[in-house]
Symmetry: C2
Subunit: 363 residues, 2 copies
């Protein structure tokens, strides 16, 4: 991690604490203002092409015991984070929660992990510094990359130059918790293909799809971690690669696509940093279920509810999604990406993906 | 994958089909005999030090429509696997299920994925060939290694030489689905440390524990995948490294230890291949909760039930486990491995692990 980024994040945090100090000095009751974090306060930012928080705010004030405790916890956490950055170290959200037990003021200790997680998100929003730049790690990263990309990663034991086909095993290159430690050296990639399931990721790698089509295969592993979404965004911005998402044909997978493309309500303050609005959905589309006559399962009640809720989700209010979701409700079926195997193990790489990528204008 | 292994697995499968053929020719109704797969038919094999199936068997016979269909499915699956090995390809369990839709005999098609998964397990048991040697991949592998180990992996695009500290990023080396494609070239390791959670794995890597103590840090990621257990077993057998398991202090984590050390009921036919009976449990032990005064949560009803069921599980009938489990039921508390952070972020690497490893005779 560059010392500059550490220094900048540290200053933003100390500015926050300084604000409380100034409020005290001016005889005011200290307080902190935050955007209201509900679905009704999410707006589409035309210019940036992502969903962001609207103008509604709520205020945390020390004018009650509860409010004062919240600000106290914030100050202790700011001190911990500032020290962590000074020492160029990092920790997990769970460690922060446990660590608070060692703080000298009982009132500053967290009651549960939700409270400390929430506070870190609040600090991200107010300071406009991301959790990664605070050096707070998630519990699991998980995702991996395979394809014609040569990177340099700054690890805590020095630089590592890694080619994501030639220098890795069948399992690929493991994305670190903070992908901003990666520098892109060189690449021969034509596009990014994000894949939901491990089984399909392994199929594409075995069939050599990344080599034949100069694709960067990024395994999402279900709902993608922030690190994965951040890397996808950087691949799009910095290498100008089209981004495509290949997932199961059900409402939960459309949400996975949605979190790659438009961000999530929980992290709307980070959409600009994590989301790739230009990402396109390859499939499985409901139209594919019909066209390729795929093996299916019937929609469950919760599938139907989820599809209906997507119809009213601002992120899915496009002609494409309305048509696909209505078709799916009509046929009452869903299909997994691995169901393409019913047409043979090579169908996905020889026929389905090339056809879809051509139709989408990526190939 | 070596062609020899493919050839051997293929022959074992064809022998199975040939047996049905001989039964037909001899005027017998074809049938297949399998060990009964229940807890009561699991025995401790003193010589091998692992739990294996006992002598009780059940017979699948074609003397009913249902039984005949089962054997038909087995024959179709054997043909598919034999072809797959001939072509040196692989597939997932889910792909097999979907692929059966393309088979010309409707009676051979699987009704659900449980059925095809079960059949693959049956074929493993009867043929004594592992699923990996059939080239059947799981959905997710997930685990990774960091430490002073230099390996050569045979990927489907050639050999890759990888040092698991010098040639990998912060995320480490991703274990492939079939770790028997790995050859151990060289190592400076003193022991293997298996770690349950990603957060703790990242802590140990950040603190340089693998470098300072010449440890191979293997991330388990919850209940470990077969690939991870197989690699651990090979590290123990071939490199003669002591294996230790570091997990949360609750009954579910003891089961994770149990699956590394003694195998599981589901895969008792593979214990000799997957389990490492010499693996030792580092902690979090119930005794640690008391000794280090760790932050805890109260045991839930399901925790208590799980602990009581462990007391009657043959795998946990040792003085050590009886003492620890009874202590835990008495104090009524559990603690996570990351709760060690309450003593500071370096406590685990500077104090806890060295003390425990010394007490266990590993350091």
């Amino acid at each position: 991690m560059s010392t500059d980024t550490n220094q900048e994040a540290r200053e933003q945090l100390i500015d926050l604490a300084a604000e409380f100090y100034d409020q005290f000095e001016g005889g005011e009751i200290p307080s902190m203002s935050l955007p209201t974090r509900t679905k009704s306060n999410i707006e589409y930012d035309e210019e940036k092409g992502v969903w962001v928080y609207g103008d509604r705010t709520s205020r945390r004030s020390a004018n009650s015991v509860r409010g004062a405790q919240k600000l106290l916890k914030a100050v202790y956490t700011i001190e911990f984070l500032a020290d962590q950055l000074e020492e160029d170290r990092s920790s997990t959200l769970r460690e922060l929660y446990y660590l608070s037990e060692s703080w000298d003021n009982d009132n500053a200790q967290f009651n549960d992990q939700d409270e400390s997680n929430q506070l870190i998100e609040d600090l991200e929003i107010v300071s406009e510094v991301t959790r990664e730049d605070f050096h707070m790690r998630p519990e699991e990263s998980g995702a991996k990359v395979m394809g014609p990309l040569h990177i340099r990663e700054q690890t805590n034991r020095g630089e590592r130059d890694i080619h994501c086909q030639l220098d890795v095993g069948q399992g690929g290159y493991q994305i670190p918790n903070n992908p901003d430690t990666i520098e892109f050296l060189d690449n021969d990639a034509d596009f990014v293909l994000c894949v939901e399931t491990g089984g399909m990721r392994d199929r594409l790698v075995e069939n050599g799809f990344d080599a034949d089509y100069d694709a960067l295969i990024v395994h999402l592993g279900g709902q993608p971690a922030r690190a994965t979404r951040r890397l996808i965004r950087r691949l799009h911005d910095e290498l100008e690669l089209p981004v495509t998402v290949f997932a199961d044909g059900d409402p939960w997978s459309y949400r996975i696509y949605g979190s790659v493309a438009y961000g999530s309500i929980k992290s709307a303050h980070l959409s600009e940093y994590l989301a790739t609005p230009e990402a396109k959905y390859i499939g499985i589309q409901p139209a594919d279920i019909v066209e390729y006559d795929l093996p299916t399962d019937p929609l469950s009640d919760s599938d139907i509810n989820a599809l209906e809720s997507e119809l009213s989700d601002p992120r899915f209010q496009t002609d494409y999604w309305e048509e696909q979701i209505e078709l799916q409700l009509e046929i009452g079926k869903k299909a997994e990406q691995q169901s393409l195997a019913a047409r043979g193990l090579d169908f996905v790489t020889d026929t389905y993906l090339p056809e879809r990528l051509e139709a989408m204008g990526v190939l």
